[in-house]
């Protein structure tokens, strides 16, 4: 695909954390038809759960995020 060739090298190095921080945590939040119930959840913390070794850490971060 030509589009892939056009992407700058920097993007290849963007860490998952950088990516998730923007793609799941920023941008306009709209309640799509399907994602209505998901929209209530802080998506970034759902996503970040997979990046964390311990669920305990996740819960603490989720609480901080909610406060």
């Amino acid at each position: 695909m030509s589009a892939v060739a056009n992407r700058r090298p920097l993007e290849e190095q963007v860490t998952l954390l950088e990516l998730v921080d923007r793609v799941l945590n920023k941008g306009i939040v709209l309640s799509g038809d399907i994602t209505l119930s998901v929209a209530g959840v802080d998506l970034v913390y759902v996503g970040l759960r997979v990046l964390l070794a311990s669920v305990g850490t996740f819960d603490r971060l989720a609480n901080e995020g909610a406060s």
Partner: protein, 264 residues
């Protein structure tokens, strides 16, 4: 019923662009779930969309999939890559990952309802890019001493005085760091159209020994390198205080689209 659900699709929306030329840009692009990228046009606006399978992107499946690191990485990257491909040649208003509508009619309705807000948001980001700036500190590293026999021998008043002095020194260093970071943000903001300071990412997530003390984003004219130069300057200046500065991007303007559109 099961077969019907498996075959069902939804319309995943990446972002909104000006309608003109967008259709041509979407040609040959693949997005989330490796699906084709298309444009749903309405008036002067276009929604960047892909038709996605609901057994992956449905209400029940999506939260589950987000916990799958491989799936998350693949699709978050696909979402970002599609936005980047459009941002390279036109103004884009990014939507958050996972905004999905039942059919193209619902997407058209979205463009109709928020036409003015999307237009205002497109104007705000047109010809501009987002740059990320992070500051890191190797907090306490120079002051830290190995806890040895001398420390164990120190008792009573002298011990407490020493701890107190250490705490005061740490507080002074902390205040100094705060000042440096605050001043840095102000200098960068002066070179930008807009700026936001986000919550620093915790060390558990960054996996770095240093602590993140600034997690900011700035909106600057595309091709303007003055903010990048300032970050390099700040990095050189901060070295003595143990603070380093890092630049990422250019990004699509994820951090600069909320205010106009994020209201029903």
């Amino acid at each position: 019923m099961t077969a019907l659900t498996a075959a069902a699709t939804g319309w995943y929306v990446y972002g909104v662009v000006g309608g003109d030329a967008a259709v041509e840009l979407a040609r040959d692009l693949r997005g989330v779930a490796a699906e084709r990228v298309r444009i749903v046009e309405h008036g002067s606006l276009g929604a960047i969309v892909s038709e996605v399978p609901l057994d992956e992107f449905g209400e029940e499946a999506l939260p589950e999939r987000l916990n799958d690191r491989g799936w998350l990485e693949r699709n978050a990257r696909a979402h970002e890559d599609v936005l980047q491909d459009f941002a390279a040649s036109t103004a884009v208003v990014p939507l958050r990952f996972g905004t999905i509508y039942r059919d193209p009619t619902a997407v058209t309705a979205l463009l109709t309802e928020r036409a003015d807000a999307f237009a205002a948001s497109l104007e705000h980001v047109r010809g501009r890019v987002e740059l990320g700036v992070k500051a890191w500190t190797d907090r306490g590293a120079p002051a830290a001493r190995p806890r040895g026999a001398a420390e164990l021998r120190a008792t009573g008043r002298s011990y407490l005085e020493e701890r107190l002095h250490e705490r005061e020194a740490a507080a002074r260093a902390g205040a100094k760091r705060f000042e440096i970071v605050q001043a840095a943000h102000e200098r960068l903001l002066a070179l930008a159209v807009d700026g936001v300071v986000n919550r620093p990412q915790p060390r558990e997530l960054t996996g770095r020994a240093e602590e993140m003390v600034l997690n900011a984003a700035y909106l600057v004219p595309a091709g303007d390198s003055s903010l990048a130069r300032e970050v390099a300057l700040l990095d050189a200046e901060g070295r003595d205080a143990g603070i380093s500065f890092e630049l990422t991007g250019p990004w699509p303007p994820h951090n600069f689209v909320d205010e106009q559109v994020d209201r029903p």
